[in-house]
């Protein structure tokens, strides 16, 4: 269950998991997680979900793009 908390916001946490935070903000979240096992478990749970989604679907990124999708670009 996502912990009820004032900091970090859920939005900041998702950005943290996506690697979109500055080093300073990243460190703030890591410091908060080190003090709060519930927060730390929630971060790991969300990170595991993200990793799982990438493992399930990232292979598609490397598939050749089907011809019919490329042909869309040939039409005027």
């Amino acid at each position: 269950m996502s912990p009820r908390r004032k900091f970090p916001s859920e939005e900041a946490l998702q950005a943290y998991l996506q690697g979109r935070l500055s080093a300073a903000h990243r460190q703030e979240i890591e410091a908060a997680a080190a003090e709060d096992p519930e927060l730390s478990a929630w971060i790991e749970a969300c990170a595991a979900q993200n990793r799982g989604m990438h493992m399930l679907y990232d292979g598609i990124l490397n598939e050749p793009i089907p011809e019919n999708l490329l042909r869309v670009f040939d039409q005027e």
């Binding site: 996502s2 859920e10 996506q18 979900q49 989604m53 493992m55 292979g59 990124l61 999708l69 670009f73």
Partner: protein
Amino acid sequence: MGEVRYLIREHIPALRRYARALLRDRDQADDLVQDCLVRAINAADQWEPGTNLRAWLFAILHNVYVSDRRKLARRPRHVTVDSEEPRLEYLPNQVKSVELGELERAIRSLPEQQRITVLLVGLQGMDYKEVAEITGVPLGTVRSRLSRAREALQRILNDTQTASSGELHVTKKEVS
């Protein structure tokens, strides 16, 4: 115009990944991407250079998906057995495949708006603002959909783990 087409092409792999996660069936997913691309190219002059092209494209795909999904659901199922299998060919090892199969089932069991939201954030790496733009809802709605989706996924995955290690669970209960 020519340059926009080039930029749109760059997004095809990500659009295909998202469509496949939404629809599972490969042909239906690529049909969805194709419809999205046709609309995007026809409306390319409406995209303002310098604004978020990815969000613009995903919004088009989202709108096509929402307007087509009843039609897609009604379409006779002529998919092959192979394309209905969980896509586990990308797995590094067997141990993980059980959990990933559970995750895929858990994602599919989510209410549609929650599934869309958690895929856009967790898989596509989008922020709340992009998801709000794509799905046409306020930020607060994105926030609550994502929280519910994350919690539901975790509940399902925890239940699965508990079920598969039931003996350990019972022992701990008796001790306490």
